[in-house]
């Protein structure tokens, strides 16, 4: 596990990591010259059939060819995809967080804050000197500037000082800033540790279940070589299974390299025979995932049909008064609900003739990237192909979102976003993804107050964004994550703790994004956007950190009204609730549609930030 301290991260030579990656790639190229020589000079040269013909000769040529094939696979799979790519990805990720520290640490030092504690949970506290300065009413210039007073010059009498500082909360202000820096520092360290651990895992897993080498000539060679050849034929399947089960340690980029290294026949075989190893995997191109996922969906619906029939039959044989019957009845209802949800999903995205449906004014096909019936259910559906689109908008929904809802309100919102993107930028292609890839809270109280749903989903969302980058054809897309209500907490948590590879973050109706400052999100603050006056205001927020629409949070807002401030900082229920009159706050018969929220979201998604108001 990563144990890097902030000093160690700050001083790390990331360039050297990248250089080593280059060295491995150069090494690999040189080694390929050797295998080329083996084939050209030996198999097709001195040892060709014109110079040596016999059963033994054939066997020896085969052996050399197998050795060359195996070494080339190793050079590709291990030396390049695992070792070199891990080094490049680690260098990039660590460099990014190092750059964050280079910005943050001087700020902490300038404020005379101390960094204390363990590298996995640093505290940023007021130093003793700073405490003293505040206590003796001689606050430093930066603090005076922040609370908006002139700096006492040391000659002022006590009464003058008290008057100056009356109503000004020096401690509160300093602590709030320290808290923001703490969030920022913890987030940068969390992401760095995560990247470090991921890199180590990729290298460690490589050694766990490596492929076999061909046997050497000697006793039992004939049997051993037959076993070897059989093993080779199963290799792709074994690799695909490990990737799908999450035990391979490979990043989506590495998975993509592996996928691209397969033959067409191998890829087709996987899609047809093992869609479960293709459909949900980040790093495999969207079209293949869609084909596989649709097959999985059909199969799952059929399977549920059989399970339902079996359960009904079992019920017939039970005593209706028994507990066993009650239990089975409940199970039957659950199965039926699952089948209904999945059937709705299927008909949402599929024409009667089995071809994909298209959506919206730009007539974009639906692509299915994942689904699950467990818990509240999951559904990942894209309108348009993210691999080829210029812009990708990923909508992360909130509380009560479920698989059932994926064919109702959630998809309506997704379609509206897709239409708006096309409306505001007719000349570029935008893919809009409904990402219900986490188990969303079922209730406002108590579930949406808990951060665990977001914490549990963070890995998945990180992986999803890395997958988008890995499978993109041509230039990387302009990637926006748009969270709604608890979805913003999901996005914020993933961005802060693991890192999301996104260009823009948009928070709508947020109860808090898990950190108190936009700086902690790992995305350029200029590209962090918040709005509250979209469809409604979260009445119970903020509970997951400072509401991102508040000025202290940083980033940008596009509320049409100013955010509602509470009478005391901690009376957060007042903030949102003041003067609240209607059920759906602004989207109602008084004010009509919130046009600026719709257009601003579309401008952000399509890279037209110049038009955001």
């Amino acid at each position: 596990m990563s144990e890097m301290t902030w000093q160690q991260l700050r001083d790390l030579d990331c360039g050297a990591i990248r250089t080593l990656g280059d060295a491995w790639k150069t090494y690999v190229d040189g080694q390929l010259d050797q295998t080329e020589r083996l084939r050209a000079d030996v198999v097709d040269g001195h040892l060709s059939v014109e110079h040596y013909e016999s059963d033994t000769a054939t066997m020896v040529r085969d052996q050399i060819t197998m050795a060359a094939d195996r070494y080339e696979d190793d050079l590709s799979d291990y030396a390049t995809t695992r070792i070199a790519t891990t080094l490049f990805e680690a260098a990039e990720a660590l460099q990014k967080e190092q750059d964050e520290l280079k910005e943050l640490i001087p700020l902490i030092e300038q404020c005379d804050f101390d960094i204390e504690g363990d590298e996995h949970e640093y505290d940023v506290n007021l130093s003793g000197d700073l405490h003293q300065a505040i206590l003796t009413l001689s606050p430093p210039q930066w603090l005076c500037d922040k609370v908006g007073i002139a700096k006492p010059d040391g000659f002022w009498d006590r009464d003058t000082l008290k008057a100056l500082l009356n109503g000004v909360d020096l401690y509160g202000t300093a602590i709030e800033l320290a808290g923001q820096y703490q969030d920022w520092l913890r987030a940068a360290m969390s992401r760095a540790h995560d990247a470090d651990d991921d890199a180590a895992a990729a290298l460690k897993e490589m050694r766990e279940n490596p492929t076999e080498l061909p046997p050497q000539f000697g006793a039992m060679y004939d049997d051993l070589v037959d076993d070897y050849k059989e093993g080779v034929s199963e290799e792709v399947a074994n690799e695909a299974r490990a990737i799908a089960e999450g035990t391979s340690g490979m990043s989506p980029e590495q998975v993509n390299q592996w996928w691209e290294g397969l033959s067409d026949a191998e890829r087709e075989a996987l899609v047809e025979e093992h869609p479960e190893w293709v459909g949900p995997v980040d790093g495999i191109p969207v079209e293949s995932r869609d084909t596989a996922s649709r097959t999985l969906l059909d199969n799952e619906i059929d399977s549920l049909g059989s399970q339902i029939a079996a359960k009904e039959q079992a019920l017939n044989g039970m005593d209706p008064e028994s507990e066993e019957y009650e239990q089975a009845r409940t199970e039957l209802d659950d199965l039926k609900q699952d089948r209904q949800d999945l059937t709705s999903l299927q008909s949402e995205i599929t024409e009667d003739d089995g071809t994909p449906k298209t959506a919206g004014e730009a007539d974009q096909p639906y692509y299915l990237l994942g689904f699950d019936t467990e818990g509240s259910g999951r559904a990942i559906v894209s309108i348009g192909n993210p691999d080829t689109a210029d812009n990708v908008n990923t909508y992360v929904p909130g509380t009560t979102s479920s698989l059932g809802g994926a064919t109702g309100g959630l998809m309506d919102r997704t379609r509206t976003m897709a239409d708006d993107a096309h409306f505001y930028d007719p000349h570029s292609a935008t893919a809009t993804v409904l990402w219900l890839g986490y188990d969303a809270p079922d209730t406002i109280f108590p579930e949406a107050i808990d951060s665990k749903w977001a914490e549990e989903g963070a890995d998945e969302l990180e992986s999803f964004t890395q997958g988008i980058r890995a499978t993109a054809e041509g230039e990387p897309s302009n990637l926006t994550l748009t969270g709604h209500s608890y979805g913003t907490t999901m996005v914020g948590t993933a961005a802060a703790t693991e890192g999301v590879d996104a260009d823009n973050l948009t928070f709508i109706a947020s109860p808090g994004v898990s950190v108190d400052t936009a700086s902690a999100l790992g995305v350029d603050e200029d590209n962090v956007w918040s709005s509250t006056n979209d469809e409604d205001i979260i009445q119970y927020g903020p509970v997951h950190g400072t509401a991102p629409v508040n000025e202290e949070f940083g980033g940008n807002t596009f509320t049409s009204d100013s955010p509602r401030e509470p009478s005391e900082p901690w009376k957060f229920w007042e903030g949102a609730g003041k003067n609240h009159s209607s059920y759906w706050d602004t989207e109602d018969r008084e004010t009509g549609p919130n046009t600026s929220s719709r257009s601003n979201q579309a401008y952000i998604v399509t890279g037209q930030e110049g038009k955001v108001q």
Partner: protein, 123 residues
């Protein structure tokens, strides 16, 4: 048409193949050693910096050198030695072991007999 009873060999060409195989074996081993050394050198500061990557990287480099590049070298060397034998005398593959190489062709490749003894699995 090649069949079980077809046998034709140009021993000089076979011996040239053996040379190439031994050359490749040596070069690959040497390059792997130097890559692993460079890898270990870069892993050092990463280990000192408390990263998880550092130790994992060092182990990966060694694993590559010993098992993958090393495995390939073993195959190439073993094939070369078997071929060296075949150029002198027909030996069934099931009957082959490194002692056979030593007795039948060892003299032709004096620097192999001892230098690579440890690489032969059956010694």
């Amino acid at each position: 048409m090649a069949g079980a009873d077809v046998f034709a060999m140009d021993p000089d060409e076979v011996r040239k193949s053996v040379e190439v195989l031994f050359e490749i074996e040596g070069e690959v081993r040497q390059h792997a050693e130097s890559m692993a050394a460079q890898n270990a050198e870069s892993a050092g500061p990463l280990k000192d910096a408390g990263t998880a990557l550092g130790p994992a990287l060092e182990e990966a480099g060694e694993w590559w050198r010993i098992h993958r590049a090393g495995g390939f070298c073993g195959l190439v060397g073993n094939t070369g030695e078997y071929l060296a034998v075949c150029a002198e005398e027909a030996v069934e593959v099931d009957d082959y072991h490194s002692g056979v190489f030593a007795s039948i062709a060892g003299d032709l490749y004096p620097d192999r007999s001892n230098a690579n003894a440890s690489a032969r699995p059956d010694w």
